[in-house]
């Protein structure tokens, strides 16, 4: 997985209660046991995961990506924010989440702070993560990318400026920022604005082509040369991006996000706009969308070295030539054509870091279209021969392979080690060798042999195998998912098939059956049945209980509920979900583990499992409404009395949802819970229009109050239970605010 994100907050399948799982998977509760076992096996099967993802809408893949990106758990509102750039509204998110929930890849949770969250489900999440890791990358046609190149900020100038740090003393402040004075001086020297120059230098520091050497910035010419080829060994996140990009173009924000999530710990994040500065990438727009794509380094040896010691690099010259020329010359002008001058000090500086006259000449010759003039060649040989440098330092010298520097540098950071040359670190002599050895060992570098007393290393420490991290290869399935999501985001069919999941969903919501003032709920129901499912119309008389229950709903809420259902089965399931009432009397509620360090959060309803008879008896005395946990689900019943029939204790009362008289065996009741004072079966069963689908997201009965309950004036009796509640809810008083009064 090309991501640094750990799925530490993902939810375990075994922690999902049976009832919830049955609801999520839309299966009878009796089948949950078998299905859970099967699902656990399937969730470890990559083929099943791939097939399942293949069957999901693109929007759902995006949601899964965002959930996993967030570590496996994400607040609902945050998810909506993140999904917005993908063109997903809150309603779209809900619809997309449902698809993931119904296949068991995600679960809705509720935090203690009443915040709804979505969690990925393990063990599937571990396999889903790499497959959806790149779906946020909006693939765009690379050929249509219109490059947006800035004269002051482009890869050539970037390389030149970084190389110029060899010849200009660019100092850092105590807080690690770049001093403005040398930046201004260099900017004036080369003819670009200091803000751009500062940004380029910061980008160089970020991607590791520049490094702090004490209080000054020094270029790493090897890293710069690699950068000229589009490689960033000290910043592997760009390798991840390059691997993801392939030959396509990606939208800029998701590319930046990919770079961000591919960052190993300790690496500074790359500013979004800095990508266009870097060789190997080109930024621009595709149909108005900010985008980037790979730009293989090209060019030819097009430079000129003149007898007047000037070097001209026209725009078509190679990037590597910019690095090489910048390493041994001082820039005079960074414009369309770069102009540099070979000077004695510039040659001396190149020699000081190990370059020889032959190397310098070879690089200049490689950059030049013509042979180097004889006077220039002679001068360089002369100057290089005359330049000598020495560094005197005392301390412990640690020598590793240059490629292992990335690994070793952090390990030696606590010793304030200084990298005096690639792969050569200097640690203060007061540090204990034992401590250094231990630190190296922790970094995976074995101390092989001590340095000779003369200072010359007699053997190098191990660790040369340490290679810069690069992105793992992208699986074909992941590529396919990414392409599918990109096609969906572009509004194009993928392999001839258009992903119209959200279109259908939106169409249903944008044209809801208008609830006319004169429409009764029954009329709405009949119209829905006539429109979608003739079978439902035919069966409506048979489903009198459901029809009766639905008849209790306000017309607008019923209309919203009907919008979400395409057939009678869905309607029955939706109605069943109303009955579930969002909570379970289970001690292993899914939300508990994620609720906080103590892991326990007081349930909204205090379920009682013992002394039920006595409690029910008292409830019957007061006509109290209770939630009863039955094997078939939870029912809300206004208890009228508890009585014994033969050997069986029966609980009598009225079902608040259906208004039917009920007689329930006491043994069938597994737990009871008092409903809160402000309990409103209508609002609990069906949220308002905007949240009509969110009810599935909650994993307990807790729901935010939608209105204050009506109370009779002090000293006055409430209205009879069968009349409409004075609060204006449109339902009967006993089903509405009476519970508050009685409580």
């Amino acid at each position: 997985m090309p991501s640094s994100t750990e799925l530490r907050a993902a939810w375990q399948l075994q922690d999902i209660p049976d009832d919830a799982l049955a609801d999520f998977l839309r299966i009878p509760r009796t089948e949950v046991g078998g299905r859970r076992a099967a699902l656990a096996r399937q969730m470890r099967d990559p083929a099943w995961i791939a097939a399942t993802l293949e069957g999901l809408p693109a929007a759902t893949l995006v949601i899964l990506h965002l959930v996993i990106e967030a570590g496996g758990l994400i607040p609902d509102d945050h998810l909506a924010d993140l999904a917005e750039p993908f063109g997903l509204s809150e309603r779209d998110c809900v619809a997309a989440i449902h698809a993931a929930i119904h296949c068991g890849l995600a679960v809705p949770l509720m935090s203690r702070g009443q915040q709804r969250k979505i969690a990925a489900v393990q063990p599937a999440a571990a396999l889903v993560a790499p497959l959806v890791a790149g779906v946020d990358l909006l693939e765009l046609p690379a050929a249509e990318l219109v490059a947006a190149e800035s004269p002051a900020r482009n890869p050539r100038v970037f390389l030149a400026v970084c190389a110029a740090a060899r010849h200009t003393e660019i100092k850092l402040t105590a807080s690690g920022l770049i001093h403005r004075t040398p930046v201004k001086r260099l900017a004036k020297q080369v003819g670009i604005d200091d803000a751009s120059l500062d940004a380029l230098l910061r980008t160089g520091l970020c991607v590791g082509v520049l490094a702090a050497d004490g209080e000054v910035v020094r270029p790493d010419l090897a890293a710069l040369a690699a950068a000229a080829e589009g490689r960033y060994p000290r910043y592997p996140a760009l390798a991840a991006l390059a691997a993801q990009l392939g030959d396509a173009a990606l939208d800029g924000s998701s590319a930046a996000a990919l770079v961000g999530r591919s960052l190993p710990s300790g690496h500074a994040s790359l500013p979004h706009q800095a990508l266009g500065d870097l060789p190997g990438f080109v930024v621009g727009t595709v149909k108005g969308i900010e985008a980037c794509r790979r730009q293989p380094p090209g060019g030819a040896a097009a430079g000129h070295v003149t007898p007047s010691f000037e070097v001209f690099l026209p725009p078509e010259s190679r990037l590597i030539d910019v690095v090489h020329v910048g390493g041994c010359c001082e820039w005079e002008r960074l414009d369309r054509a770069f102009v540099a001058r070979i000077t004695r000090p510039s040659i001396a500086r190149a020699v000081a870091v190990g370059d020889t006259a032959e190397q310098i000449l070879a690089r200049l010759a490689a950059a030049s279209r013509h042979p180097i003039p004889q006077n220039v060649e002679a001068a360089i040989r002369d100057w290089a021969g005359g330049a000598m440098s020495a560094t005197i330092a005392t301390g412990h010298v640690i020598v590793v392979d240059a490629s292992a520097s990335v690994r070793v540098a952090p390990a030696l950071a606590r010793f304030a080690a200084r990298e005096v040359a690639p792969g050569v670190f200097l640690v203060d002599k007061d540090e204990r060798i034992r401590d250094i050895t231990v630190a190296l060992g922790r970094a995976g570098v074995q101390h092989r042999e001590a340095l000779a007393s003369g200072g010359a290393p007699s053997g190098a420490a191990a660790g040369s195998e340490a290679a810069p991290a690069v992105a793992a290869a992208v699986a074909p399935e992941a590529e396919r998912l990414r392409a599918r999501v990109s096609a969906w985001r572009r509004g194009e069919p993928f392999e001839g098939v258009r992903d119209d999941f959200l279109d259908k969903h939106r169409a249903a919501h944008t044209a809801p059956p208008a609830a006319q003032p004169g429409d009764s709920p029954r009329a709405l129901l009949e119209r829905w049945a006539a429109r979608l499912d003739p079978r439902a119309r035919r069966d409506l008389p048979r489903l009198a209980a459901i029809v009766g229950a639905l008849d209790l709903l306000p017309a607008s809420e019923l209309a919203a509920l009907l919008d979400d259902c395409d057939d009678l089965d869905q309607l029955i399931a939706a109605f069943a979900r109303l009955a579930v009432q969002r909570t379970r009397p289970s001690p292993q509620q899914p939300s508990q583990a994620g609720a906080g360090p103590r892991g326990q959060r007081p349930p909204a309803l205090l379920w009682q499992t013992e002394d039920l008879r006595e409690r029910l008896r008292r409830a019957g005395q007061h006509g109290e409404a209770l939630a009863l946990d039955l094997a078939t689900g939870v029912r809300h019943v206004e208890i009228s009395r508890v009585m014994q029939r033969g050997t069986t204790w029966m609980v009598l009362g009225e079902d608040l949802a259906s208004a039917d008289a009920v007689a329930l065996p006491l043994d069938a009741i597994r737990a009871i819970a008092a409903l809160p004072d402000d309990f409103d079966i209508d609002s609990d069963a069906l949220d308002d229009d905007d949240d009509d689908e969110d009810d599935d997201l909650d994993d307990d009965l807790e729901a935010p109050p939608v209105r204050r309950p009506w109370r009779p004036a002090e000293g006055q009796a409430g209205p009879p239970g069968h009349v409409l509640c004075p609060c204006g809810s449109g339902v009967r008083y006993r089903s509405c605010c009476r519970a508050v009064v009685t409580a």
Partner: protein
């Protein structure tokens, strides 16, 4: 980048420089376009650098080139779209030309300055130095004739060139007939005269040996007026007189060298030196007695030879001579004091220029090969060099006795050729002259001694001639084919170019130019700087190492001098 087209030979940079690829198939087209409005700054062998400087653009505007012609020309040769700000700057600069226009006034003592820009008008009224030069008269300003030059300088300093269309004094007529049977002017000489004639003031830039004196002569003949020629030295003055006699039918009495107290004769064509003109004495209007004396004459043309050497007082005095036609001649319009703007404002803009290498390719000047010969310093010299204060180090390095051995080797290498040996430090120069047995001309040599030495060299009586800095300028020794420079004046680019010019008269076999430099000394850096102008003109310097054990020069150097420096042998 935008609109890349490799078919075009030039790259227009953001700092208004234009890089022109010499190897490009459309190089000549690009060169011709740029030469109309851009200034050739450097011309090394592969890439020539032009600058769209304000002066160059104003020069172009003065010659009638329109802004759109400049932009279209640039677009025609530019590989990329023009940088937006460059186009804006060109339009802005070109628009400034003509804002201030100087025309004849109501009376001969007054000129009229028309200013089309209200900000400039305000500036002119409020800036004390400028306001003192003009008098507001409604929508224009009245300018006393005497302030003509100062006003032009002042307005140029604030970025507005004055289009000076006020009449020029014709001067007393003088018929100058050219001996057309004895020579035919080269086309570039005719073109230069034509360019100058168009406005009556300006500078012609041609390489040494390209015949600048002849251009002066042709200009005199073209204008037919009395002429004052200002030169850098008495030898140059003599050379002008020689040239005038050789190329024209002017009689002896028509040409005079003004030498102050010694010879205060003034003729229709009078030749004098800058130093003579800038001698402060007398109670005249300017305080410069000879200037006051000469400025009373009815000159119709003033020729500034080696205009890059014009000293600061002459600029001030030249401001007084704005009503006369002015022709500047130089090979290197490079002033180490950066006063090119004064040349532009007071003498005139550059009217004509031909590159050194262009004339070399066309055979009008000799093809020169330049060498830098490096010699080691003996141990004792190295030691004394190391402990010497920095101001003495150049002299110690220049007087490195090992140079004499190298000199001898070079003289032997060019046996049979006429050789000039030039240096700045007299001790080493005397030693060199003794070593090779040549006459030596220094500042102490009398005029007669100098002329005798030059005549002997021209006639072939002596093959080698040693010259101090007096030989830097305006010495016409066309037979010289080799020049060996054993020391120079610090890092002067101008001196290097002028010395090279001594051997550039066309000759079969070309010319060789050697600079002997002490290794591991400041001379290496100075030589690098000195060579800059020539390398930018397209000359290649070859480095030759002669660091082998130097032959003991004592034998030659210890030879006792016989007679004066000039007549050593």
């Amino acid at each position: 980048m935008i609109s890349v087209s490799a078919e075009h030979p030039a790259i227009v940079q953001g700092d208004r420089t234009v890089l022109l690829e010499v190897d490009h198939v459309r190089y000549e087209e690009g060169r011709d376009i740029l030469s109309r409005f851009a200034e050739l700054e450097r011309s090394p062998e592969h890439v020539h650098t032009y600058r769209l400087s304000a002066l160059a653009l104003w020069n172009a505007a003065a010659l009638g080139v329109k802004t759109d012609e400049v932009l279209d020309g640039l677009r025609a040769i530019s590989r990329f779209e023009l940088p937006g700000h460059v186009e804006h700057e060109i339009r802005d600069l070109m628009a400034r030309h003509g804002v201030c226009r100087l025309v004849d006034g109501p009376d001969p003592a007054t000129l009229v300055l028309h200013v089309q820009s209200e900000p400039v008008r305000l500036h002119l009224s409020r800036e004390p130095k400028l306001a003192a030069l003009v008098r507001s008269a409604g929508d224009h300003f009245l300018v006393p004739v005497g302030h003509r030059g100062a006003l032009k300088r002042g307005l140029l300093a604030v970025g507005y060139p004055v289009e000076d269309t006020a009449g020029l004094v014709d001067g007393a007529p003088l018929g100058v007939a050219v001996k057309h049977d004895s020579f035919t002017p080269y086309p570039y000489q005719t073109a230069a005269v034509r360019a100058f004639r168009a406005t009556g003031h300006g500078v012609v830039v041609l390489p040494c040996g390209a015949g600048k004196t002849l251009i002066g002569v042709l200009a005199m003949a073209e204008l037919g007026t009395r002429t004052l020629v200002l030169t850098s030295s008495r030898e140059a003055a003599a050379q002008w007189r020689r040239e005038l006699r050789a190329r024209t039918w002017l009689g002896d009495d028509a040409v005079a060298i003004y030498e102050g107290a010694r010879n205060a004769a003034v003729a229709p064509v009078t030749i004098t030196t800058y130093s003579m003109l800038s001698k402060r004495a007398g109670s005249g209007t300017t305080g410069y007695t000879h200037f006051d004396r000469l400025s009373r004459e009815p000159w119709g043309l003033i020729i500034y030879d080696e205009v890059h050497l014009v000293p600061a007082p002459i600029f001030r005095l030249t401001a007084e001579l704005q009503a006369r036609r002015r022709l500047g001649l130089t090979a290197t319009l490079v002033r180490e004091d950066g006063r090119e703007h004064d040349v532009f404002a007071l003498i005139g803009p550059k009217r004509y220029e031909v590159g050194w290498r262009v004339l070399e390719h066309s055979g009008h000047i000799a093809a020169a090969t330049c060498f830098e010969v490096r010699v080691a310093m003996p141990a004792e010299v190295t030691a004394s060099y190391a402990v010497a204060p920095p101001r003495d180090q150049p002299r110690i390095a220049a007087e490195n006795p090992a140079k004499l051995a190298a000199l001898r080797a070079l003289v032997e290498r060019h046996a049979g050729e006429r050789i000039l040996i030039m240096g700045t430090y007299l001790e080493s120069l005397r030693a060199a002259a003794r070593l090779v047995g040549s006459p030596l001309v220094t500042g102490d040599s009398t005029h007669r001694e100098r002329e005798a030495a030059y005549a002997a060299f021209r006639s072939g009586e002596v093959r080698i001639l040693a010259l101090s800095r007096v030989g830097n300028f305006a010495i016409d020794l066309p037979e010289a084919a080799v020049l060996i420079q054993i020391s120079g004046t610090m890092g002067s680019r101008q001196e290097e170019a002028q010395r090279l010019g001594r051997v550039l008269r066309p000759k079969p076999g070309g010319a060789s130019f050697y600079t002997i430099v002490s290794r591991h000394s400041c001379e290496e850096e100075l030589a690098l700087h000195r060579q800059l102008f020539l390398t930018e003109q397209g000359y290649r310097f070859f480095i030759e190492d002669m660091t082998g054990p130097p032959a003991p020069p004592e034998a030659a150097a210890s030879r006792p001098p016989g007679g004066s420096d000039a007549l050593l042998n």
